[in-house]
Amino acid sequence: MRLQTGTLRPEELATLKLRGVYEQYGYKKYRMGRFEEYSLYAKNQSFLASENIITFTDLDGKLLALKPDVTLSIIKNSKATRGTREKLYYIENVYRESKESHTYKEISQMGLEVMGDVDLYSVIEVLTLAERSLAQLSDHYLLEVSNMDFVTGLMEPMALNDDQKQIILDLIRAKNAFELRSEARRAGLSQRECDDLASLPTLYGKFPDTLKKAKRLVRNRTMERAVEDLEQIYHVMKSVGLAKKLQLDFSLLNDIDYYNGIIFQGYLEQLPRNVLAGGQYDGMVKKLGKDCGGIGFAIYLSEMSRVPLTPGDFDVEALVLYDADADLKELTAQIQALTKQGLRVRAERSVPPQLRAERIYRWEDGALKEAASAQNGEALAAGGKETC
């Protein structure tokens, strides 16, 4: 039986193909239940996109949640250590708050995680798989990369309290250069420190140019190492032909308590927000009491429903009209023969409203006869060319 992939949505096709790709790289499928202990999320609320979680009490009195996230569960259950590596991928539904409708939504999410010994090769492998995932969803994509150590390295020697740091990080994220400068001045930073911070929102673009500009901003060894890592990653990705849609943007920042090093987001031209997000999250792993590294990404498949598909010309290729006199054995056999030709068939007593058919067959004198055929690709619809 041939799989009818023609009517699959891009995200459905993507999950089929990407499973294969991830397994080729040695990732094993991770399956989890709908429910997880609420305490896991309550203790780590700032890792989640929203603090609103669907909770309920189980029959044994335990407080459970409909999972809003998969990564935390993978970290919690991981047996990886510094010397080993665990590579998992998942396709799961998560339950999150929709900011627009102020209601909960079920979101389909696909992703992968590498836990344990995370080195530069792991980072490159994850970036490679992120790019291939984006390419599977659309031709018009870009993968935006950053290294958090560059920004944290720049801000480390600055005399800022936690509140001031938070405000400045938010301004960098919003590419708000003018307010950045005034906030930095208000916090009492030097002219050079103000200039450095204000230049971060403008540090974006293709890797070679952006790295050149970034090098001028290097003030310490942490920042130097960050640039070196990025350079190495770029050269490897370029050598395997994956650098065309790669971009560097130092205003990309995740939560500094959980993420370090390389982080990235994937964008499709047709979608309002990023459809993929990931990075290295050693801080989160440590917080859950494991002594190792972690890196991964998630694809928000539900976002893909916003991509309009060009509707096909027909709903079915064959509409078969029969009446009470029809020989059921013959009718069934002939309809089956039509489906074996690969056609989509619908058998009805009368023409259904709003059905677009390419051909109409009638049961006449003991056999199916073609009664009408679509002209110039214009579908036959109820009340149209065919009269019953």
């Binding site: 919003a174 964008y267 927000r273």
Partner: protein, 211 residues
């Protein structure tokens, strides 16, 4: 084609004047009709006339690539967009106001009437003051006069409405002005066009200031 969400009203008129002087004009916007979309294929812009409080939503949802919106709305709804420029237009201040002769009773929660619930919450949280918020949508100045609230948190421009309704400004805590925002995806895929517009706007704003 760049989609620009323009706020309906005085601010939108001012911003359009500014944009038309730097090469983004669209003469059909002056035609007396009820259309909400105006296109100029020569300089590749499309103006969308939008309710001021909706501009950020259009931009965040990619229905517009860029837009002009007040900082008050940005702080209240916190959309996930890039804030590229302060246009210096529509200047006003976020204030706390009360009736003339008002004396605060610190022994009970303060009743605050406002359109800007999040801004008010954040302001009073920073002062550790316990408050009850009454959300209103307009004519906020009525609330303290009728005893609906002790104070109001609202934007003040000339101060005439405040004065004429026998109110006084207790505190000015936030300068507000119109900002130029961009959708994150649009910024990445149409970076040249948006950066050029931002640079031209920045130069025009600086030029105005030096007058």
């Amino acid at each position: 084609m760049l989609n620009i969400a323009l706020p309906k009203g005085r601010l939108g008129d001012q911003v359009y004047e500014l944009l038309s002087t730097i090469g983004y004009d669209c003469k059909s916007i002056y035609e007396p009709n009820r259309k909400l979309i105006f296109e100029n294929p020569e300089n590749n812009v499309r103006y969308l006339l939008v309710k001021p409080s909706d501009v950020a939503i259009y931009v965040e949802h990619h229905a517009a690539d860029v837009g002009i919106v007040g900082k008050d709305i940005l702080l209240e709804s916190r959309p996930d967009v890039y804030e590229l420029l302060d246009l210096g237009l529509g200047k006003c201040r976020m204030c706390v106001a009360a009736r003339n002769g008002y004396i605060e009773d610190k022994d009970r929660p303060l009743r605050v009437a406002t359109k800007f619930v999040n801004i008010a919450k954040q302001y009073y949280a920073g002062q550790n003051r316990d408050i009850d918020i009454i959300k209103l949508n307009g004519s906020i100045e009525l609330a303290p006069i009728l005893g609906l609230s002790d104070v109001i948190v609202d934007i003040v421009e000339s101060g005439n409405t405040i004065r004429e309704n026998d109110l006084q400004i207790l505190e000015e805590f936030l300068p507000i002005s119109a900002r130029f925002i961009a959708n994150k995806t649009s910024f990445k895929f149409q970076n040249e066009i948006i950066s050029r517009m931002t640079a031209k706007l920045a130069a025009a704003v600086k030029g105005d200031r030096s007058l």
